[in-house]
Each structure stands twice: as C-alpha cells, then as structure tokens.
C-alpha cells in the first residue's frame, strides 16, 4: 500500500481513507494516532466562497496591494475534526496561506507560492492547493491573505474552498496501518 497516494496526486479530490481506517497526523511536534469515525464532503458552494476585501474591511484593493492573512472562521473545525481542502480564486488575485499563526504554507526558503487564476490551468483539479486543518489545541486554523496582481483597482478578492471533513477518535498508539498525514507541516 502506498501511504502517500491521494494526498497530493493529480486528479479529483477523494477521501484519503475509508471510515474506520486509521490516520497518523503530525501535530504538536509528534505523530498522533486517530481512527476516522465519519467523513463528510464539503462541495463547492457559496458558503465557502469568501471575499477577503470584505473580510478585511478595506473597501478596495489597489494594484499590487495586499490583504494580510485573515483568520477564516468559516474553515474552523472542532477539536476532533480534520479538514482536507483545496481552493481556488475567482478574481485576479494571488492567495497565500498561513497556519500556526504565521507559518507560511506552500513555502520554501526562497519564497511562498500562492494560488491564482492560472493555477487551475496547469493543475485542473487543484491538487497542489491541498491543505489540512486539524482541530484541537494550538492555532492550526487557516489564515488567508492575498495580493492584487491584476494591475488595476479591484473591489472583490474572492476565493473558494472545498473538500472533506473527517470526524476523528484519538487512539492511544498509532495503528500499524495508519496513513501518515502532514497536517500543518510540522
């Protein structure tokens, strides 16, 4: 069994396991074992399309101006939940993701990648936009910001999220068949 298959592999989003299978999620500097009790889809819908300009209350966004990372309350999960999400932008912006308060995601030493209108052109299923939110202690929520890359003043900076939420039960030890998930990356 390939433990990393379906995490970021190209193609439509699918659950990373079946109900009653096991996960090992990296959080708080260690792998924590869980059993999946339930999996619920979050299809693309208006409820998870957000306008960062409205969220930040900045009115309009000048060319090359940025909205700093905003806590996305719509994506928050309960302590025994785990979200598996992909995202896209609607306006001519580039979105960026931070987790653990200020930890840049999709980032290397040299810079932080983002998601823009061209992302689905090369990655139609948005697999490379995959990220995870684990509920519970610590600040694991998603903070999303964006930069106006359109060259013009824009009045909306919309982006949408879709995927799955897993309801989890914590396990004393990591199950030998658990699938390992990076979660917030550390």
């Amino acid at each position: 069994m390939n433990f990393v298959d379906n995490l970021y592999s190209p193609g439509p989003i699918t659950p990373i396991c079946q109900i009653k299978e096991h996960l090992a999620i990296w959080s708080e500097q260690r792998w924590i074992g869980y059993q999946v009790d339930y999996i619920e889809p979050k299809p693309r819908s208006s409820a998870f399309v957000l306008d960062l300009i409205a969220l930040a209350g900045v009115g309009v966004l000048a060319p090359n101006a940025a909205v700093a990372g905003q806590l996305i309350q719509a994506l928050q999960v309960d302590s025994q939940e785990f979200s598996h999400l992909r995202w896209f932008v609607i306006d001519d912006i580039e979105g960026q993701l931070w987790q653990l308060s200020n930890m840049a995601r999709f980032a290397g030493r040299g810079g932080q990648a983002g998601v823009n209108l061209f992302t689905p052109v090369y990655d139609p299923w948005l697999a490379t936009t995959t990220f995870w939110i684990l509920g519970g202690p610590g600040d694991k929520d998603a903070r999303i910001g964006c930069t106006n890359i359109s060259g013009a003043i824009i009045g909306q900076a919309r982006m949408g999220f879709f995927g799955y939420t897993y309801r989890l039960s914590k396990e004393e030890a990591i199950h030998p068949n658990a699938r390992y998930i990076p979660a917030q990356g550390r």
Partner: protein, 134 residues
C-alpha cells in the same frame, strides 16, 4: 521534425482603465498585471470597440510609452468613423502585438502598459486584452 507545443496560459479581461474617453493625448487603457515577485504580465489586444460622435472620423493609435514617457505606436492607425455605426475591431483583424515591458533606459525602454492616442477628444473606447504570465 515533430515539435511539441508549449501551453501558454492566458486570461481575458477588459482594459483595466475601463471605458476610456479620449483626450487627444496619451490615454491609459490597460495596465499590465504585476506579480508578487515583481514580474509583469504581457498582453495582446483582442478587441477594440469605439463610439465616435464627434462629427467626423477620429484616428486611434495604440501603443505604449517609452521610459522617457513618450508615446510609441505599436498598431497601425485605426479610423473610427463618426456615428452611426459603432466601430469594432476583433481578434481576427488585429495583429497579435504583445505589449511587454522592456527595461532599457529612457527612449529605448518600454513601459508595456497599453496607451491610446486619438486625433480628437470624446471618443469612447473599450478594449479587451489577453494577458499571459502567471
């Protein structure tokens, strides 16, 4: 020899200046998108729509500015006839001139943003562009 085409992704959008009323001077019709790394998109004009009710034909020149702020014409003159009818130039009729910045100094450089110089004021012009880059 078999060659493999390389996909150049693009997006279509209206000129960022929106509906432009000509002033008979340099009128900005589209500002190129600029990325977080500072790299600039390029653009090709895919459609021009102009309404001229000035009483006579008006010449429209599309181009960019050099880095000494002088206009540099890219497309041949388009003549917008007096109304009616409206004047339109579509993708099939327009050469695929790519507006792109050129970082040479002064008159040798190019801003890349799309400008219009009309021979008379008060012509209404809207363009559609295809942007390449990121």
């Amino acid at each position: 020899m078999v060659t493999t085409p390389i996909l150049r992704a693009s997006i279509r959008k209206p000129g960022s200046a929106g509906l432009v009323t000509t002033t008979a001077g340099n009128d900005l019709v589209h500002t190129l998108g600029i990325g977080r790394s500072g790299v600039v998109r390029t653009a090709i004009i895919r459609k021009v729509l102009a309404y001229n009710n000035t009483g006579g034909p008006v010449t429209l020149q599309f181009g960019t500015l050099d880095l000494a702020a002088a206009f540099v014409q890219y497309l041949p003159d388009l003549v917008a006839l007096n109304a009616p009818p409206e004047n339109s130039w579509l993708e099939e009729e327009l050469p695929a001139v790519e507006f792109s910045p050129l970082g040479l100094a002064g008159a040798l450089g190019r801003l890349g943003d799309i400008y219009l110089v009309a021979s008379a004021a008060l012509v209404l012009v809207q363009v559609e562009v295809e942007e390449y880059g990121f």
